[in-house]
Symmetry: C2
């Protein structure tokens, strides 16, 4: 192992490549990301969220349409409702602020309506995807910004477990759909989160053409994940969980009805 | 205007809020993002891409499924083909490397197949969305990492203009779909890119419940964008372009057939 492996060991569960890699504080920050679900008490103040949202808005967006919104939720009753609807995850109540990122085709539709113009393109799956991708690019900048401020964050995909009820709770108009949430808060120093290893870079990074992974690459990664979870006291690996995650409609934890939910909320995704 | 507005003026076209905002080098880097389309000659070396992909893999991913891949393209003939298929944008040929991010349901499907298990969940739109969101979170980390190294980057959504031909060119298996590209290269100092203003924060950031924008908020933003494009010698604003972008199927520049393309490539998005 190189002593100068700047996070590589924890990120991949292996030593860094022998060739020298560039290094700077931003890369170090990105490498050491971990999902924080244990928060110390305390709000995230307004100025921090202002900086975080400015960072989010600085991300690229398709055709500068900015087809996303973020709902900042602090009201305890609303947080409690959201936590119940999103897999009953208590850390949603206990973070410093909950940001619900929205794939937003509603704003442009409304501006078209005010101008007396149609907005038929919003009906296509291309537009749905643009909304989700724009929301994701923005959210990732938000997470990096939060981490740069010493805060911790975790994505909450389970807002898609009950997207229609969450849309009602947040007053989303037709064409706006809750994509995912991000809880941001002060990490609990007594319960630090771990850095989960990722697939070997050679499995995810393809040169010129796609390549399916070799069995030994997956076995090595499964061993690295198993070793990681063992440090957390959990007997689990990666491969069986990944296979279970894609098995059938039931693997989607209720999200097999997403297409109907999108359509009912004004995104028929033609 | 506050002297200490750290990029706010350029990002929003307005002075920063009066209340003090947190500041650090990471926030400054995020705020000053701009899409670079003019590149100086020169490849992006392998070690830089290794660091960039490690950053990409450090982003969150739904259930640690890592439902994305990246194809690194450097071959001039393949770059030329991709440039032609993706809106004939010459900067794809002239960057230092072209990264095509892939919504990847194929890897998990293949691992299930090898284990003799079904992979029916990949058929649902939830899985398609997870692939695109995972790819977007990863790509945004890649862009931040590249920018931290002094490189410039631009997203290329137009890989979705001809996704099936691009999938063939990159050897993508069923279930893997080209989401978007990112050109990374050395910015041409003779043609620096501008920082495009974004919607006022109050339009995108909603407190507790969604709010449609007021006409004067949109008018102020349209004026800021018009002033920005005037510095580039272009007479255009934002509102008319946004309305044109959502008008009808023709506004999607051929991407109204995305749903059929997804289905033919093994992502029926049920």
């Amino acid at each position: 192992m190189r002593t100068d492996d700047h996070g590589w060991l924890r990120r991949y569960g292996t030593a860094a490549p022998e060739s020298p890699l560039p290094r700077n504080e931003v890369l170090d920050l990105l490498y050491r990301h971990r999902s924080v679900r244990s928060f110390a008490p305390g709000e995230v103040d307004d100025a921090a969220v202002t900086a975080i949202v400015a960072a989010a808005q600085s991300a690229s967006t398709s055709s500068n349409l900015q087809a996303w919104s973020v709902i900042e939720v602090r009201d305890p009753a609303r947080l409690d409702s959201l936590a119940r609807l999103a897999g009953d995850q208590d850390f949603i109540r206990r973070g410093g602020v909950f940001l619900v990122f929205v794939a937003d085709g509603a704003r442009a539709s409304e501006l078209a309506r005010r101008a007396g113009e149609p907005a038929g393109a919003v009906d296509y799956i291309e537009s749905t995807i643009v909304g989700f991708v724009d929301a994701a690019l923005a959210a990732q900048n938000a997470v990096i910004a939060a981490e740069s401020l010493g805060l911790g964050a975790v994505y909450v995909g389970s807002v898609r477990n009950s997207p229609e009820q969450i849309a009602d709770l947040l007053g989303l108009p037709r064409g706006a759909f809750p994509a995912f949430g991000v809880v941001i808060g002060h990490p609990d120093p007594a319960d630090p989160a771990g850095i989960k290893p990722r697939l070997p870079q050679a499995v995810v990074r393809h040169r010129e053409r796609y390549r399916l992974p070799e069995a030994d690459e997956i076995a090595a990664y499964d061993a690295a994940v198993t070793a990681y979870y063992a440090t957390q006291g959990e007997p689990r690996g990666w491969l069986r969980a990944a296979i279970a995650r894609v098995r059938d409609a039931a693997s989607l934890h209720g999200r097999h009805t997403m297409r109907a939910s999108l359509e009912r909320r004004g995104l028929p995704s033609r």
